[in-house]
Symmetry: C3
Subunit: 484 residues, 3 copies
């Protein structure tokens, strides 16, 4: 039934070959083959690390260390918060479209589940390969880092939401995770920049990766009738917003160093996010004739402060510093939604469904800059000699580094993230333009019908028509319930 519609509607659109959105071969094939590959690679490469291996407890007794000093107890609560952000936060934030909630939350789950496995391998090869036996040793910190890596791909998903097929998303994730691991290795290990909350590594990279792909996949005849929300879908999106907002302190502190590092990162993020809310509301209200608020701003711009404080979260940013960062980001992000998104679509040919440029790209860059400045301004007076060593990891071959140098390295890291995002996005965008991925025609974007069977209600209903007493009950309710 849908096929006929699709074909018809193509006649008045620009592309003359009707698009085939059937993914019955490609989607199962990709899922099966890649999952089998994961099993084989995990078999060859991945093992438990010392703290999750069965020998840990014995060692523990030998050195009379308490069980509570297992890294699990330092990081697992933060891991679970990050996990909620990835699956409920990102997933539900994207349910705002009136008919793409299944795709938002369902494909989010699919690509995150694949991405985290691939991330464990890619990040493992770069960061935690044991030279003794050539195996990657994983623990709770690896799981957090895998979730972080996946976050960058989910950010990218936000730019192309509703316009790509699940197979394209899988391809995007495969390349995205790969690029992320390389970029992360260069920024954190080679350049020795610090980025606890991933303003550069996660947000800047992920956002420009997604925007470049969206640019490559530009649809001049995109039908926007379904590119909007209804009342309840906006409330669903607020679930995503709030879980991101609340757990962002855990995100930025999850892989900070034990003790005051995690503590301070959580405080800074908590404050920055609070300030963002007020300036977002202010600008949103100012931008409308009657001072009304726009739900799009509340759903998205209120989060910008968490992004922008990511890099500097574990530094001595000071509570007022965090507030200032949040203050600025709320303004910039909301203005971005009002002026920049329409501009980018019209003149730059970048269609950004969720406005990730305003929520992740700009705040990510700001975060990188704030990080560079804060690092360059770090002094022994504030940090103490030992503090500088701990916070900026001035050990090993970086022992004699100065804070001002570190500031330069931070800035270099930001550039690498930008290059990888834009360059990688363009390359992957080329791949995704191949006509084999089953993406939607221009006039059927933002529609769950393409990839989701609605059997559970339409099928059942057709075979069992509603009895008359049910219909009469419906009619009784019409006036109250139609609108929302």
């Amino acid at each position: 039934m849908f096929r006929k519609e699709a074909t018809c509607s193509q006649t008045n659109s620009s592309s003359f070959i009707p698009k085939n959105t059937n993914v019955r071969i490609s989607l199962p094939a990709v899922c099966f083959v890649w999952q089998l590959a994961m099993i084989i690679l995990f078999g060859f490469f991945i093992r438990y690390n010392a703290e999750s291996d069965v020998h840990w407890k014995q060692e523990n007794k030998n050195i009379s260390r308490s069980d509570i000093e297992n890294d699990f107890y330092f990081r697992y609560p933060s891991f679970q918060d990050v996990h909620v952000m990835i699956f409920v936060g990102f997933g539900f934030l994207m349910t705002f479209l009136k008919r793409y909630s299944f795709g938002a939350v369902g494909f989010n789950l699919l690509i995150a589940a694949f991405g985290l496995q691939w991330a464990l391998l890619m990040q493992g090869w770069f960061h935690s390969l044991d030279p003794m036996d050539g195996k990657i040793k994983i623990g709770v910190e690896s799981m957090i880092n895998a979730d972080f890596c996946v976050a960058s791909c989910l950010i990218a998903y936000g730019a192309v939401l509703g316009k790509v097929s699940p197979v394209q998303l899988m391809v995007m994730t495969l390349f995205g995770v790969t690029l992320y691991a390389v970029e992360e290795y260069i920024i954190l290990n080679l350049i020795h920049a610090r980025d606890a909350g991933g303003s550069m590594v996660i947000h800047t990279f992920g956002a420009y990766y997604g925007l470049s792909i969206s640019w490559m996949l530009y649809r001049p005849n995109l039908d926007k009738r379904l590119n909007g929300s209804v009342y309840h879908s906006d409330v669903f999106a607020m679930i995503g917003t709030l879980f991101l907002w609340m757990f962002w302190p855990s995100f930025n502190s999850a892989i900070s160093y034990h003790g005051d590092g995690q503590h301070r990162a959580a405080i800074n993020t908590y404050l920055s996010l609070a300030a963002t809310v007020l300036t977002t509301v202010a600008i949103s209200s100012l931008s409308q004739k009657a001072g009304k608020l726009d739900m799009v701003h509340i759903q998205n711009s209120t989060l910008a402060g968490g992004v922008a404080v990511g890099t500097a979260a574990e530094f001595m940013l000071m509570p007022y510093g965090s507030l200032i960062v949040g203050f600025c980001c709320g303004i910039i992000s909301t203005l971005g939604y009002i002026y920049l998104t329409p501009f980018m679509e019209k003149y730059l040919k970048i269609q950004d469904t969720c406005g990730i440029h305003n929520l992740h790209a700009m705040p990510g860059v700001i975060g990188g800059i704030v990080g560079a400045i804060t690092a360059a301004a770090a002094s022994e007076g504030v940090y103490g000699k030992e503090g500088l060593k701990t916070v900026f990891d001035f050990t090993g071959k970086w022992e004699n580094m100065l804070p001002t140098q570190q500031g330069g390295h931070q800035a270099a890291g930001l550039c690498v993230a930008l290059c990888f995002g834009i360059g990688g996005g363009i390359l992957v965008g080329c791949v995704l333009r191949l006509p084999i991925w089953g993406d939607a025609p221009d006039d059927h974007c933002f529609d769950d019908e393409l990839y989701w069977e609605h059997s559970s209600y339409s099928g059942v209903r057709q075979s069992h028509p509603e009895p008359s007493w049910v219909i009469s009950r419906y009619i009784q309710y019409i006036p109250t319930t139609i609108a929302y």
Copy 2:
């Protein structure tokens, strides 16, 4: 468009000056100015405490203390649970109105984000001012306390939900936080009452503060057509209910003393809440002709046990004691919804949208009384000499205090909370009656249209009318989907 309607509709209402709900100047002004003030005050006053400062790790090495003994690891998981209660719990609990979900969850976020900053300052001046340098030192416990303080203002919001403008809410929060900090200082420090879960300090104060304001803002011609729920809005509200219900053990144990204190507070709250559910269901079912349950009771009264066990949660209340408290509160709270709310509206001129009198005021007072009795009945036989000292903090100038005296002090604390709530509410209510705040006319209450732009769907739809195949698909679904 709305203006005209508003003006028309005023003609048949009691007030003859049409109300101006435009907040385009006032709302951005309040947000900007107050946020700037926060930044300046934070710059002057707020610093990291010892456990979140960069010098902590160094000190740690000196005294060979493990990183895990940072207060962060004792309290951060509880903090995150409390944070979820504040933003998702309170926010979604109030989405039950059919057309005020944006206002519920959006304004909740706004005032909580402002309130927690102001609370850090106010509570800091009273509780954690460092005499050495005149700075307030914040850490994870300060963040929990700030969230607690905000909770009292969100409770008050429940009474006036749908009837006030966001600017009024900001004013209410500014004064509410200020009063809270003073009241808390008097109760906890001067009177030396104990109140781990805030039955008195948070719930009693917050509820009477809100009820008094609602009394001052009484609307004799309130139009109640929109003061009700639809099917899905009730399900959204259950998200709020459940997150409050589940995380209440963390709320009551978040600032208890380390070790058995937190452990016991969590157990007591867990049990009390379980008992409340059963008696709420019983009374709700009894109150209807066919034994059907009322969603309003399930959403609200099931939480009363958590409120009432707040003060005594860290005492040796005993598991059966917690069950008894929950048992009674489920009954009282549900009966309150059935009999007291209509009575208060009709005879006392108090319009209580969410029924906070039943969920917070009465259980809060019960909690205060239970706390007083439990404290007065504390004996060395049960607590041990050291236990009494730890639980009731009989140190310093309170060293020679007896449990019976402590009971008296607890009762005095309850009175202070009541006085501050009622007195403060009346004063703030006077301020909020000024005709400058942009509140809704009587016949447009409980309606998101006043303060929220529905551009995302109405705007888009108008410029892109639905294509015919979309409409035909809709019509096919009408019978199934209209009702819910």
Copy 3:
């Protein structure tokens, strides 16, 4: 009003005595009496354990142990995650029915709140009775175990969702918890099988208990018009799915032994669940003509990996082992939804509303088998001598047990779980067939109207008809909003 309808509709159904769904006497009676019984039994039997008792801190000083070594800090974050799974996870997973969301989330809360109290008693008598004073000592681990016990009853609820009255659910829970406690004691203590995540004890038992009850309560004329979802109810169900999915690592690690035990259990579950998602998507897409996905599979089968890895989660299953388990379970569970559920209904007379056979029964049995094999294959080479002792608890009278023997014991445990589930379900099913419980007639199943008062909107609306401007606003929205 409803009564008349119910009576009418019975004329064309098979049973000739109109069913009375009035629970106004039975439901309050059950709730009150059982809650009173709980209070009395708690008074006699339940006390705080050493770690939640006020004397703990004093002891602590004596042996110079840190406060952080209280079991609370090892397990409370996991407890809260499990708590969310029980109330939000199971509750919202069942909201997928278009008109049974209140019943799903409301009755889930009711029976869980009752069940956990009864579980504390039943499990306490078997596991933590203090021989010194005959009291049950509870702490955070007891709360987790009580939640686990309740989970088995909520699984059983999934099979009969929409077809039973709340009174029947309470009876089902009373017997379910009792059977669970006995079964758990036999499996864990007498047979000495290990089952950290409860594949056998919780999932296999719970699922077969529910399926047997559903078989006993078979309704040949069940009206399935309401046994389906609408768009938004499917999105609500995804909230349940995701919170279960995300927190399953906490579920499987919550009661593992401290340190590497909890750490490893979390990693294994995390990986298994990720693999399940991919194979679920693959099979779901393969099963439809156009490769579309079915929301039912995504909501349920993606969780099968967490069930199946339960028993072996704390063993040295290896990361690739977890992936293999997840890989297989995604396939089996999805195929179950496609082929087995219709088959079971048609030929075995088992009506399984939520498909718990595919989500809990089959994966539970697989989990038991995986556990048996992994235990039998355990070697000193992998675990070390001490490791075997710790993981399999080869202490006391089990000191000389061999891993191969342990494998046999695991298999025996699985059989016990199956027997208790099926046998117990048949017995309880007989009890539930008595015509005194107020269950729904065949043509009013899956309908909230039977047990929930919709006063909040229908009542209010009737007395306050919508004003004309409101209706005109509705009509404007019809095309956009009807469908979803």
